[in-house]
Symmetry: C2
Subunit: 257 residues, 2 copies
């Protein structure tokens, strides 16, 4: 199993959209995929499943009690895509984890027994660099960093790369940045090309070749609790084409495809 964390502490850059649709893209290719929702907003859970009721255990219960992940994993409408959902209690996980021994390793230990059951695990993280995100980075083989074509998200990369470097040096030396994916790419705006050029200058080939174009269907799809593939229901749909290309590139970078 290859584990990919999708992370960027800047809010609203497309982390959930990338995690959900890359997960679905890999599942459409027949890979067995586990999507893990580690964001207290529970957005990925709302898109491919539904909000958990108070009595249903989610990622928080499993992390804090070091139980197995298996009992909370649910199927989704996309074949080959399963979900480890987040519940509302995840909002308090950080403070609870802070006092526990080995707190950065909890998720990695939970994923260990699932290695043979899935080809990929994709972790959606929230817009901050706290213990939950650190758990995701320690559990991951790779990190994908979504960057939207705006100025403020560029500034935030410095903090993210510092955190990735610290995790790499202190907790998990095999962690690699799989790539930077440019999202909400809008050819009508000059800032799009400025941001693109800045990223290419700084990160070169680490920037994925494909672009996730601006697409109003991406704003609507979560409202129908659908992935972009199901929402567009067409192989030529803008989001379908974009996420198919991202899926191609991720497979090439991980399986040497």
């Amino acid at each position: 199993m290859k584990t990919i964390a999708v992370a960027n502490q800047k809010g609203g850059v497309g982390k959930t959209t990338v995690a959900v649709n890359l997960g679905a893209g890999l599942a459409r290719r027949g890979r067995k995929v586990l999507l893990i929702d580690l964001d207290a907003q529970c957005n990925a859970t709302q898109i491919v499943h539904r909000m958990l009721s108070e009595s249903e255990p989610g990622m928080c219960e499993v992390l804090l009690n070091e139980r197995s992940l298996t009992p909370i994993i649910v199927p989704t409408k996309q074949e080959n895509l399963s979900l480890a959902p987040a519940g509302e209690s995840l909002a308090n996980a950080d403070l609870n984890l802070a006092a526990m021994m080995g707190r950065e390793l909890f998720l990695r230990n939970l994923l260990e027994p699932l290695h043979d059951q899935y080809d990929f695990a994709i972790i959606d993280t929230g817009p901050y660099l706290g213990l939950l995100t650190v758990n995701a980075l320690v559990a991951a083989d790779y990190v994908i960093v979504p960057v939207s074509c705006e100025f403020l998200p560029l500034l935030g990369l410095k903090f993210l790369l510092e955190t990735v470097r610290k995790v790499h040096d202190k907790l998990h030396s095999k962690l690699k940045i799989l790539g930077y994916i440019i999202t909400m790419y809008d050819r009508r705006e000059s800032i799009t090309f400025q941001v693109e050029q800045t990223l290419l200058d700084h990160f070169g080939d680490d920037v994925f070749k494909c672009r996730i174009r601006i697409n109003t269907k991406q704003k609507g799809a979560p409202g129908r609790a659908q992935t972009i593939f199901a929402y567009e229901n067409s192989e030529q749909g803008r989001g379908t084409v974009d996420f198919d290309s991202l899926t191609d590139e991720v497979l090439a970078r991980t399986e040497g495809g």
Copy 2:
């Protein structure tokens, strides 16, 4: 002094853009305004000031050591607008605050002595509902909630309102929601009207009448470290008109203007 927190744990909905440009809008009307950056991303600080160096104290140092705010306050290019900046150390404030007695009240106590020096204090918060955001809610008289015209931000309001209610019941009974401001309003997309209608149905007059329209200049202004007023430099600019109307409504709701 009237204190307004700008909060919504959903990422990228326009919290910083509203905090900075409302602060500037009020300052342009001759009100003395203190902008407080309580987001570990330091975006407001980068827009109206610059990143702090490691040796310069910011909001984190002041909060944890319960020192006075005054020594860290800096002027900005906008007359009547001052800033209490955030430094990189704010990212660790949450875990440090967690163990301290009265941890939710730190910011309120810091603002107490400034009551006669400013007409308004505007607090920018980060995209999460942790102790820093709770500090902002406890210190505030009002909360402004930016909501962008997309589906996922709507879902997040439930969590935010639960937190506001808890703060109101347990820590600060005078906290009021000043209003919901619809941001990134794009008449070309049907989802804009669906979100608008849903908000009006749920919150009625609590929704500000003005809309902050989609405006590519808002994406560029932070790159020039300017407010939208300075960037557009025209009373007819789209952002200038929108933020002038928001300023009008905020004054009407707080000063009964």
